[in-house]
Symmetry: C2
Subunit: 190 residues, 2 copies
Amino acid sequence: MNDNLSSYLKRYIDLTEQENERFQSFLKKTVLNKGDFLLKAGRICTARYFVVKGCLRLYYIDSKGNEQIIHFGLDNWWITEYDSLINQKPSNIYIQAIENTELLTLNQTSFEKLTLEIPKINTLFRIIMEKTFIASQRRMEYMLSYSGKELYQKFVSQNPQFLQRVPQYMIASYLGMTPEFYSKIRSNSV
Amino acid sequence: MNDNLSSYLKRYIDLTEQENERFQSFLKKTVLNKGDFLLKAGRICTARYFVVKGCLRLYYIDSKGNEQIIHFGLDNWWITEYDSLINQKPSNIYIQAIENTELLTLNQTSFEKLTLEIPKINTLFRIIMEKTFIASQRRMEYMLSYSGKELYQKFVSQNPQFLQRVPQYMIASYLGMTPEFYSKIRSNSV
DNA sequence: CGCGACGTTGATTTGCCTCAACGATTGTGG
DNA sequence: CCACAATCGTTGAGGCAAATCAACGTCGCG
């Protein structure tokens, strides 16, 4: 039983003690070292992951060969690649640990059993999905509306914890700019 | 009973005839004229909408005063503004009919009753949410990876039906460019 | 008819990229 | 423990994609 997860769940649905235990009995603890991959392009994603502790990046390689970071996964977030998971098709996405990371894995067959057994779990994952979507839509609005410098300033003020944990070139990629330009923004030369 | 909706539902969940009828009894038919608003910034979004026939645009006004189109809603799509609906907060989004449009409205209190009564409905909306998210993530990848001209070409080949129905300046906005630049791409002068 | 909405075209500007060179730091094998 | 490479960040010069601004053409409609 993981307490982080239990209190996470409480925020969204009411589970009895038995249901909570039953839920968590389907989860498998996974440990990744910095640099390890949870998913590589070409593979089919088979699970949803709850990050207990650590940090992941979700990225793809675009047609020009650049790594584009879409998303970070930190402590107490669920992360997965939905297009591959839902449609059972090869991923174009990589998910990689950028710190030593501890995860709980809920694979798709367990997920399906679980939602039949405890229908409330559907509600949980609907809510997670909604929150994920809202965040993604807000990010899109930011990218469309703000200059590089504005994006940087907003990111820094809203996510100070990242700066300590994530190398600059990854933040640059997440913000949709080159590391060089990111550096120039930081040094105020732009 | 709406047949478009019935066959839409069949694609995602198994409902008995009674459940289908019960579901649809919660829906309210709404008709909008071209130009009418389903939601305006500052209001709280209270429902999910199924577009039976017509076309909507979902957009916001950015800090420079430009309309930025995030999404179109066409026949047989669900549309809503999740951030406002889920978090019950004032929307920064407008949803407007760009053709005369016929909708089915599922308001949030009905939605909540419905999911209690027929838990499978949670699955339905989880799936809709997943599909919406996947589309949004793919769009983000496109915007980050491709030039204006490439975006235009992909859009045209994947959505030829839009060109007949939607004015150019809206497509330009959806693709994240100015109408002037869009026009230059079309005339091949860029 | 005349006005407003929409689209086009050209001149100019600009935000960001590319490329290249060069520090600083980390880690690794001899 | 040092040498060396790899990784990461910085800085500058030059270039390009797309925005801005402005003028003008066209169409549909009150």
